[in-house]
Structure formats: structure tokens, C-alpha cells
């Protein structure tokens, strides 16, 4: 276990205030405000192109916001006297010279802060890249590159960690490793802020969610609340022997009813209680009445649906089947 943990700093957090970032006429981040609280893992979610990486670059002082302010514990990143001790970051895009060895890359970073070689070796051990530490980074696999990125982020033993898609390119074992590591880092009282476009990854790792789409804030909430919010207005599953009669009865109450399979309906626009009452009035026997809770994925899709920048052209699978059958 970790020895010598310091007490969590309750004021250590990332504050994004009314931040807008434009590149030419393209708005990457649009009047975005949120806070990242210490001691927990905050997930930063959004479809590809939503502005997650831009927001992280703004936090890290790599890009300057067009409007608004970003502060870490009340200070701008540029004003931190020893940034690697305050914030450790790993960006999604590789930020490492391919011609240098992992060891020398970390050493050069360490030297800017007067961090010794022993710490460099320590983080190399920590992320498990001892075997390749003296090799040129250009030959690293995606997973190795991610581990090196994590090593660089941990170099200064920072209180805040910012990780852009850390699970990218990792094998299942690597994903488990990063998940465990992140939870432990948060348990030490560190602020962990990580982005992903994958809901399932967030469900496993994050306590709190900041969801953005097209550069705008969509939700700033807990994982449970996020799912709950997306579930309101979701379907209710009804199973009955008299499905046809029930469908007519429900349709008369302005509900949208889908016949999922024989005897199974999915009802939109009515609560379970309302459906029960209608069934009672019509003397229809119900075998099952289940409010369907949206999965994290569905919640994500529903809330970000309109904000996805590039939609895939919808392919109707039924039509495809028909075509195939006709051709056969």
C-alpha cells in the first residue's frame, strides 16, 4: 500500500469558467463551465470531436482560450512554479519525440524540475516498461506508448491527474491495470480527470461525470443520476397473452407501442402505473410490467445524440435483408 500519503487538499481542483475556444470560425468549446473536485475520478465524456481534448489543452495552458478562464487551485497553469508536481497529464495525441528512449524522455522532463534519476526509474517500474525503457519510443506499441504517457504524468507525484483516453490501445490486462491505478490515485486524495468516448469505461472508473457535446456542457452529475436522467421517458416492457388488445387500448391513450416480439410490447409515453390501470380497466391480464432503465451507453447516446458532429449514414438492416433474400 501507499505509505506517507498526505491529507487530501480539499481546495485542489480544476475550474473551467465560461470558456470558449475558436479555431478560425470553428467553435471547439462553447461557453463551457464546470469544476473537477478532488479525491474522486471525474469522467469527461463526449463523442469524438466534442471538444474534450481541446478543453484539456486549455487546462494545461497549451492553447489559450478565446474567452473565459481556466484555473487550477485558483492559478493559471502558466503561473505554476513547478507544474509537474501539481498536475500530471497525458494527452491523447502522442507528445513524445520518437527518436528518444523512454528513459531519456522521462529524464529530460524530470530535469526541468530537479527530479532525480531514481524517480525516473521508479515510474518506469510503476508502469511496467523496464524491458523497453532504453529503446527508442518510435518502436513502441500503442499500449507501451500509453504506459509511458502515464509514467510521465506520475513523474512529479502530482496532486491532479489529467488523462486523455488513457485506456486507448491497452489490452484487457492493461485496462484493468489503469482502472486500478486510477482508483488508487483518487483514493490518495488526488484529483483525477479523465476523458473517454466510451461509456462502459466510465461506468467502471468514474464517480462523477462531465458530459459535453459540440463543445457545450450536457451534464455535470454523478454516474447514477446521469443514467436516471436519461431513463425518464424511457420505455416500459409489457408482456401479456392479450398483447393485441392491450396495444389498441394503450394506443387510445396516445402511447407509442412497439411490438418487440409475440406477446411482448415496449410502451413509450406512459408510466408502468398508468399501463397497469389501463390494463385493469380493459380487464387484460399482464404477465410482466418492467420499466426499462437506460444503460449508460443509451443514456449517453440519448443525451449526446443531437450533438454528435458526424453521423454515420443510417443503414436499414431490414432493407438489406430483403435485398439479400431477393438476390438469392
Amino acid at each position: 500500500m501507499v505509505i506517507g500519503m498526505s491529507a487530501p487538499d480539499t481546495d485542489r481542483m480544476i475550474t473551467v469558467e465560461n470558456v470558449t475556444k475558436r479555431y478560425g470560425d470553428k467553435v471547439a468549446v462553447d461557453d463551457l463551465s464546470f469544476e473537477v473536485k478532488p479525491g474522486i475520478v471525474t469522467g469527461f465524456l463526449g463523442p469524438n470531436g466534442a471538444g474534450k481534448s481541446t478543453t484539456m489543452r486549455l487546462i494545461l495552458g497549451l492553447d489559450a482560450p478565446t474567452a473565459g478562464t481556466v484555473t487550477l487551485d485558483g492559478r493559471k497553469y502558466q503561473d505554476l512554479p513547478a507544474p509537474l508536481h501539481e498536475v500530471g497529464a497525458m494527452l491523447e495525441a502522442r507528445a513524445i519525440h520518437t527518436g528518444r528512449s523512454a528513459y531519456n524522455h522521462l529524464l529530460a522532463l524530470a530535469q526541468t524540475h530537479g527530479i532525480g534519476r531514481s524517480r525516473v526509474n521508479e515510474v518506469i517500474d510503476l508502469v511496467g516498461i523496464q524491458a523497453v525503457a532504453r529503446k527508442r519510443v518510435g518502436g513502441f506499441s500503442l499500449g507501451m506508448g500509453q504506459r509511458l504517457g502515464v509514467a510521465a504524468a506520475l513523474l512529479g507525484d502530482p496532486r491532479v491527474l489529467i488523462l486523455d483516453e488513457p485506456a486507448n490501445g491497452l489490452d484487457p490486462e492493461g485496462i484493468l491495470w489503469i482502472r486500478t491505478l486510477l482508483k488508487r490515485l483518487a483514493k490518495d486524495g488526488r484529483t483525477v480527470f479523465l476523458s473517454s468516448h466510451l461509456m462502459s469505461e466510465m461506468a467502471q472508473t468514474a464517480d462523477h461525470l462531465v458530459v459535453i457535446g459540440r463543445g457545450r456542457l450536457i451534464a455535470d452529475t454523478t454516474v447514477e443520476d446521469f443514467v436516471h436522467r436519461a431513463s425518464t421517458g424511457a420505455a416500459v416492457r409489457v408482456v401479456s397473452e392479450q398483447a393485441t388488445a392491450l396495444r389498441d387500448a394503450l394506443a387510445a391513450h396516445d402511447a407509442r407501442v412497439d411490438n418487440v416480439e409475440r406477446g411482448v410490447l415496449e410502451v413509450h409515453g406512459l408510466t408502468g402505473r398508468q399501463i397497469g390501470e389501463i390494463a385493469l380497466a380493459e380487464q387484460i391480464v399482464l404477465a410482466e410490467l418492467t420499466p426499462l432503465q437506460a444503460s449508460l451507453e443509451q443514456a449517453f447516446m440519448q443525451l449526446t445524440g443531437e450533438t454528435v458532429e458526424y453521423h454515420a449514414a443510417s443503414t436499414d438492416s431490414d432493407d438489406d435483408n430483403t435485398t439479400l433474400r431477393a438476390a438469392a
Binding site: R57, G61, Q78, A95, H113, R147, L185
Partner: protein, 277 residues
């Protein structure tokens, strides 16, 4: 990866002393960065070989042909220029490497890691310029001396050698190293401005090698008026044993060349502070 389970219990938090970023530390870091790239070591080796080797080679050719050389050639012969002729080649290697010092970071994304560690950014520019210029100066001073001494010993065949006690010889030897050191900063600044390897090298080559060629095809009066201001002409007076017409004094020209370099460095600094990384 098999290391996973073993590393889960390793300490994340360590005995890290919390020290701040200083200019000296950034220089230390840039020193490590400079030498930890294979391309740097090779290019510097090429510059050394060019600087140290070409002078003696030219001297050898001249001595072998001496008896066949015309009176004009013999009159214009200068033992200093022969000995330090390798700078023509060394400046190309130094310039390309200078451009790469920054564009290499931009093209690989390394610059983001660099600026995350040193968010004030300018200490990085000063450290890169300082270390690269110092390394260039030291290496070129040594290889220039080797070239000079070796060449002079070859030139004794026809007794046309000179020595370092000879004032222009001493100035030219140190001047060659100074010129290449300042040139390295100029190239590095151009790389920082353009942030693209191909563009940076094109700009560097354009300024040093193409513009003189263009000036040469202008009418003579215009050419003579422009000539002293060309970076390559202004900068190389200091390393020449002879003085051409329509040039500034060796130190005056060198001061102008330093001025160009400072200008490029200042533009690079302003842009580095302002632009998104």
C-alpha cells in the same frame, strides 16, 4: 503485459523533492534532449568531419597542383581561407540541425510535453539556443583548429603556410566558430518560427544560399549596394583571411549578422508565447 500484477503494489507516491522550474534546470534538460537523439549525434559528427577534414583536403589538392597554377591563382591564394574552407560544409549541417532542434519537437508532439513541464515556454527557447550554440562553438573551435593546423603543415610543401600568431588567422579561426554558433541560433529561430522541418530548412537555405545567388545576377551597382547586407556575406567576413570589395569590416559585418539573428530569435520568442502548441 506480465508486469501488471507486479507493479500494482509499487509506490505511486515517492520521495520526490518539490523543487521549482529554473532556467538552469531547463538547460540541463535541453542538454539531455540534445544528446539523446541519434540524429543530433550523426549530424554533429558530419559537421565536425566537414570542418576538420575539408581544409586539409583542399590544401592537399592545391599543393599537388601548385606548379600548374597560374600567377593569378597563386597571388589570390590565402592559407587561412584554405584551412577554414570546411565551414562551407559545416554550416549546412549545423543549419539543418538547428532547424530540427525545434521542428523535431513540433512534428512529433514532444513540444506539448516540453511546454507542460515549462509552461512559461521562453526558458525552453533560451535553453535550446544556449546549449546548441555552446555545443556548436566548442566543436567548431576544436575542429577548426585541427583543420587549420593540418592544412598549414600541408601548405609547407610550397612554403605558403601561415601561423595562428598572424592576427587575421587567429580572428578567422575563432570567427569561424563564432559564425557557426550564431548561425545555429539563427537556424533554430527560423525553425521555431516556421514549426515545420521542410519549411524551416527551405527558409534557412533560401536566406543563406539562394539570396546571394539572386543578388549576383542583379546589375552590378545594385549588387554592390546590397552585398554587404546579405546574411551570408555579413556573417562570414569574420572568418575570412581576405576582405572582399563591398563588404563591411569583419566585426561590423558580424555585428549585423548577430542583429539578424537576434531579430529572428525575438520573433520566435513572441510567436512561441502567443501561439497554441
Amino acid at each position: 503485459m506480465s508486469a501488471t500484477s507486479a507493479t500494482l503494489d509499487a509506490p505511486v507516491r515517492a520521495t520526490v523533492t518539490r523543487e521549482r522550474v529554473t532556467q538552469a534546470r531547463v538547460i540541463r534538460s535541453e542538454w539531455t534532449k540534445l544528446w539523446s537523439l541519434r540524429s543530433t549525434r550523426w549530424t554533429l559528427l558530419v559537421a565536425i568531419l566537414g570542418m576538420a577534414g575539408l581544409g586539409p583536403l583542399i590544401a592537399t589538392v592545391q599543393m599537388n597542383r601548385w606548379n600548374h597554377m597560374g600567377l593569378g591563382d597563386r597571388l589570390h591564394f590565402n592559407p587561412i581561407n584554405t584551412g577554414l574552407g570546411g565551414y562551407h560544409f559545416a554550416q549546412l549541417a549545423i543549419g539543418v540541425l538547428g532547424v530540427l532542434v525545434l521542428t523535431g519537437e513540433y512534428s512529433t508532439g514532444q513540444i506539448r510535453s516540453t511546454f507542460m513541464a515549462v509552461p512559461k515556454r521562453l526558458p525552453v527557447l533560451w535553453a535550446k539556443a544556449g546549449t546548441f550554440a555552446a555545443v556548436t562553438f566548442a566543436l567548431m573551435l576544436i575542429s577548426g583548429l585541427i583543420a587549420f593546423l593540418a592544412s598549414q603543415s600541408i601548405l609547407t610543401q610550397h612554403h605558403v603556410q601561415t601561423t595562428l600568431d598572424h592576427a587575421p588567422a587567429l580572428r578567422s579561426w575563432v570567427g569561424a566558430a563564432l559564425y557557426l554558433a550564431v548561425l545555429s541560433v539563427l537556424a533554430l529561430s527560423l525553425g521555431a518560427i516556421v514549426r515545420n522541418t521542410a519549411g524551416g530548412i527551405a527558409l534557412f537555405a533560401g536566406l543563406l544560399f539562394v539570396i546571394p545567388g539572386l543578388a549576383a545576377i542583379l546589375p552590378t551597382s545594385t549588387q554592390n549596394a546590397i552585398n554587404p547586407y546579405l546574411p551570408s556575406v555579413a556573417g562570414t567576413g569574420i572568418l575570412s583571411g581576405t576582405r572582399d570589395a563591398y563588404t563591411f569590416s569583419p566585426w561590423g559585418g558580424f555585428a549585423l549578422f548577430c542583429g539578424y539573428t537576434v531579430l529572428a530569435l525575438v520573433v520566435a520568442a513572441v510567436l512561441m508565447r502567443r501561439r497554441d502548441a
